[in-house]
C-alpha cells in the first residue's frame, strides 16, 4: 500500500516537472528559482486550505465552506483593522484563527450532532457566511489605504529569502505531516474514513473525529483569510469566489480519495502545487482566455485519471485454470 502511495506521488512530482519543462520551452524565465519561489508563494493559500480539506475528506466528509469562511474572516479582520489600526498583527492572527475555528466548529457540530450530510451542511454554511459578509460590510470594500501598514506587510515580510506567507505554508505542511503520521487523532482520521464501523469497535468516536477535522479545516481557512486580505490589500464580499472547488480539486489531484480513508499530506501539497503551476503558467505562455479554462479542466481530469489508474489494485486471478477451462 505504501508502495502504491509512493509511486502515485512520484508520478505527480514527475508531472509537475514535465509541466515546468514544457512551460520553459515557451517562456524560459519560468523555471528560474526566483520565479518558482513566487509561484510557491502564490500557491501558499491553496496549500493551506488543501491541507485542511484533506483531513476533512479523509473522514468521508467535505468542506465546501472554506472559501466563504476565508472571505468572512478576512472581512472581519480587515474591518477590525480599519476601526482599530493599533491592534498588533499577532492579535489579528489569533482572532483569525479563532474565528475560522468557530466557523469550522459550526460545520462540525451540525455534522456530528444532527447527522446532516456534510455536503448539505457546508453548502448551507457557505451561503450563510457569504451572506454575513454582506450584512457586516453593507457591500462596501475595505481598501488598501484603510488598512494599516503592519497589517499589510506581515505576509510579505521576507525571512531567509522567502515571504512569511510561504513559511507559514511550509510550517503547516510539516505540522500536518506529524499530525497525520505520528498522533492518535491523525490516525483516527484515516480509520474513520477507511471503515467507520470498525473504528467504532476500536473505541474511536466517528462524529467527534469528524468534528475535529472541520475545526482544523476552519482554523486554516481563518488563517488564510487574514493572509489573503493582507496580500491583495482589499476585502470585499466575493473574494476567493469559487476557490473551494480549486481546493477540492487540489486534494483529488493529490490522490486523496473522495471516498475517505486514503490520502497523504505530500499528495495534497503536490496537488496544490500542480494547480498553482498551471494557474501561474497560463498568463505567461500567452494563451487565449477562452482556452485557459478548458486547459485547467483538462489538466484536472488527466491528473485524476492518472491517479485512478495508479491506485487501482490489480485483482488476483485465483481460478486461472478454471477460467481457461470455461
Amino acid at each position: 500500500m505504501t508502495e502504491a502511495l509512493k509511486s502515485r506521488e512520484a508520478i505527480l512530482t514527475g508531472a509537475i516537472l514535465v509541466l515546468i519543462a514544457l512551460i520553459s520551452t515557451r517562456y524560459p524565465g519560468f523555471a528560474a528559482p526566483g520565479n518558482l519561489a513566487n509561484v510557491f508563494n502564490d500557491t501558499a493559500p491553496l496549500i493551506l486550505l488543501a491541507l485542511g480539506q484533506m483531513i476533512v475528506i479523509l473522514t468521508k466528509c467535505i468542506d465546501l465552506s472554506v472559501a466563504a469562511n476565508l472571505a468572512l474572516t478576512g472581512m472581519v479582520v480587515a474591518m477590525l483593522n480599519t476601526v482599530a489600526p493599533g491592534v498588533p498583527v499577532i492579535v489579528i492572527l489569533l482572532i483569525a484563527l479563532a474565528l475560522g475555528a468557530l466557523m469550522g466548529a459550526i460545520n462540525g457540530i451540525l455534522v456530528w450532532k444532527l447527522s446532516i450530510p456534510p455536503i448539505v451542511v457546508t453548502l448551507g454554511t457557505m451561503t450563510i457566511f457569504r451572506g454575513i459578509i454582506f450584512l457586516i460590510s453593507d457591500g462596501a470594500w475595505v481598501n488598501a489605504h484603510e488598512m494599516s501598514a503592519p497589517f499589510k506587510d506581515f505576509p510579505r515580510h521576507v525571512i531567509l529569502g522567502l515571504p512569511t506567507l510561504s513559511w507559514i505554508a511550509i510550517a503547516a505542511v510539516l505540522a500536518f505531516y506529524v499530525l497525520t503520521t505520528r498522533t492518535a487523532l491523525g490516525r483516527a482520521f484515516f480509520a474513520v474514513g477507511g471503515n467507520p464501523h470498525a473504528s467504532v469497535y476500536t473505541g474511536i468516536n466517528v462524529g467527534r473525529t469528524q468534528f475535529w477535522a472541520y475545526v482544523i479545516s476552519g482554523t486554516l481557512a481563518g488563517l488564510t483569510g487574514y493572509l489573503w486580505v493582507a496580500r491583495y490589500a482589499v476585502a470585499y464580499v466575493d473574494i476567493a469566489g469559487g476557490f473551494e472547488l480549486d481546493v477540492v480539486a487540489a486534494c483529488v489531484i493529490g490522490g486523496v480519495s473522495i471516498a475517505g480513508g486514503s490520502g497523504s499530506v505530500i499528495g495534497a501539497l503536490l496537488g496544490a502545487i500542480f494547480l498553482g503551476v498551471v494557474k501561474n503558467a497560463l498568463p505567461v505562455v500567452n494563451i487565449s482566455p477562452f482556452w485557459q479554462l478548458a486547459i485547467s479542466g483538462t489538466a484536472i481530469i488527466v491528473a485524476i485519471a492518472f491517479n485512478a489508474r495508479a491506485s487501482r489494485v490489480p485483482g488476483r486471478v485465483i481460478l486461472k485454470r478454471a477460467e481457461h477451462a470455461a
Binding site: G29, W141, N143, A144, H145, D238, A240
Partner: protein, 333 residues
C-alpha cells in the same frame, strides 16, 4: 451550484421585500429597479446613491436596488424574472452579457415595463435605450492618453481587462486601438483578462511583468483589475517603473495614487450615472419623453441626453483623478 443558490436567494428576498412593501403605499409610486452586475461592488453602490438622490428629488419614486452576487448573466436573468413578477414600472440594468439577457428583458417589455440599460449595454432589441457613462470613443482615447501623458518617449503598454466577454471593456479597448496612431511611440503589447477577480488579476499582472520586462504602463479599464494591478506592481518593487492607469474608483485607488503606483486614472461619476439612469427611466415611464433615434430625454441636474441611431446616448466626459484631487474624492465613492 453556488450561483443558483445565491440567485434564488436574492430573487426570493426581493420578492419577499416586494410582498411586504406593496400593501400600503408602494402602489401609487413609480417603482424603478436598478439592476447591477453584482452586489457588493463599490461603483454600483455609488450608483445606487445617485438613484436614491433622484428618487428623493422626484418624490413619487421607489428604488429597488438589486443584482446577482456574482457577475453572471444567469444570475441577472433570475433577478429580471423576479422583477417581472413584482410588476415594477421600470428596469434599468448594467448587463453582464449583451445578448443573453435579451429574451428576459423582451418579456419584461411585453408586460409594459420600461427597460433601459446603462453602464454596460444590452443589444438594441432588448432595451428601449442605452445610457453610456461617457461616449466610448472618449473613454478609449482617455485610457490611452492617461498612459501616454506619462511616457513622453513612448514605450510598451499592456491592457488588463475584466472578462473576455465584457461588453464595455471590449468596446473601449477597440476604440483605444483606433486612436493609437495619434500616440507615436506607444506600443500596445498585449491584452490579458483578470475576470474581475483580485487574485486572477494580480497573477495576470505578474505574468505581464515577466513576459514584457520593458513594460512602462498597464491600462486596466476595470475597477477590480486596476487595484490588483497596482498591488502587484507595488509588491514587485516596480513603482516608478510601471505606471498603472485606467478606470477605477478614488476610494479604492487612494493608496495606489499616494504610493505612486498609479500616476492618474479616470472614471465618470457613478453617482451621476445612477442619478441619470433613474431620471431617464422615470421620464420614459411617465411618457415625458420617447426613446427614439434623435430623441432627447431629460436627466434632471445632468441636463439631457440625445439618442443616436441605435438609441444610445452619452452622459458626460470621464474625469481624471491624480495626487492633486484624490484626497477630496476618496471618501465620496
Amino acid at each position: 451550484m453556488k450561483r443558483r443558490t445565491f440567485g434564488t436567494l436574492t430573487a426570493g428576498l426581493t420578492l419577499a421585500a416586494c410582498l411586504m412593501g406593496t400593501s400600503a403605499m408602494a402602489q401609487d409610486k413609480t417603482r424603478i429597479a436598478i439592476v447591477v452586475k453584482a452586489l457588493g461592488i463599490g461603483f454600483f453602490e455609488a450608483a445606487n446613491k445617485g438613484a436614491e438622490e433622484a428618487a428623493k428629488e422626484l418624490g413619487d419614486v421607489e428604488i429597488i436596488y438589486t443584482g446577482p452576487t456574482d457577475t453572471t448573466a444567469e444570475g441577472q436573468i433570475e433577478v429580471i424574472n423576479a422583477l417581472i413578477a413584482q410588476q415594477v414600472n421600470a428596469i434599468a440594468i448594467s448587463a453582464n452579457d449583451r445578448d443573453a439577457l435579451v429574451p428576459a428583458l423582451k418579456k419584461a417589455m411585453d408586460r409594459g415595463i420600461t427597460v433601459i440599460s446603462w453602464d454596460s449595454g444590452v443589444a438594441p432589441e432588448g432595451r428601449q435605450m442605452h445610457l453610456n457613462p461617457s461616449s466610448n470613443p472618449l473613454i478609449g482615447n482617455m485610457i490611452i492618453k492617461l498612459a501616454a501623458d506619462h511616457l513622453p518617449d513612448g514605450g510598451d503598454v499592456a491592457v488588463l481587462s475584466a472578462s473576455a466577454t465584457a461588453t464595455n471593456q471590449n468596446t473601449w479597448i477597440e476604440e483605444m486601438n483606433k486612436v493609437l496612431p495619434n500616440y507615436p511611440g506607444i506600443n500596445v503589447v498585449g491584452t490579458v483578462y483578470g475576470d474581475d477577480l483580485a487574485d486572477k488579476s494580480y497573477r495576470e499582472t505578474q505574468g505581464l511583468m515577466q513576459t514584457y520586462p520593458n513594460l512602462k504602463a498597464i491600462i486596466a479599464p476595470t475597477s477590480v483589475g486596476i487595484v490588483a494591478a497596482a498591488q502587484a506592481v507595488t509588491d514587485a518593487g516596480k513603482i516608478g517603473q510601471i505606471n498603472v492607469t485606467g478606470l477605477g474608483l478614488p476610494s479604492e485607488m487612494a493608496a495606489a495614487v499616494e504610493s505612486g503606483a498609479s500616476q492618474s486614472f479616470a472614471i465618470w461619476n457613478p453617482i451621476d450615472l445612477g442619478y441619470s439612469a433613474t431620471m431617464i427611466a422615470y421620464n420614459l415611464v411617465k411618457g415625458n419623453a420617447k426613446a427614439e433615434p434623435g430623441g432627447k430625454i431629460g436627466m434632471g441636474r445632468m441636463g439631457e441626453v440625445t439618442l443616436d441611431d441605435s438609441n444610445e446616448g452619452a452622459m458626460a466626459d470621464p474625469f481624471v483623478y491624480d495626487k492633486s484631487n484624490i484626497a477630496d474624492f476618496k471618501s465620496i465613492f
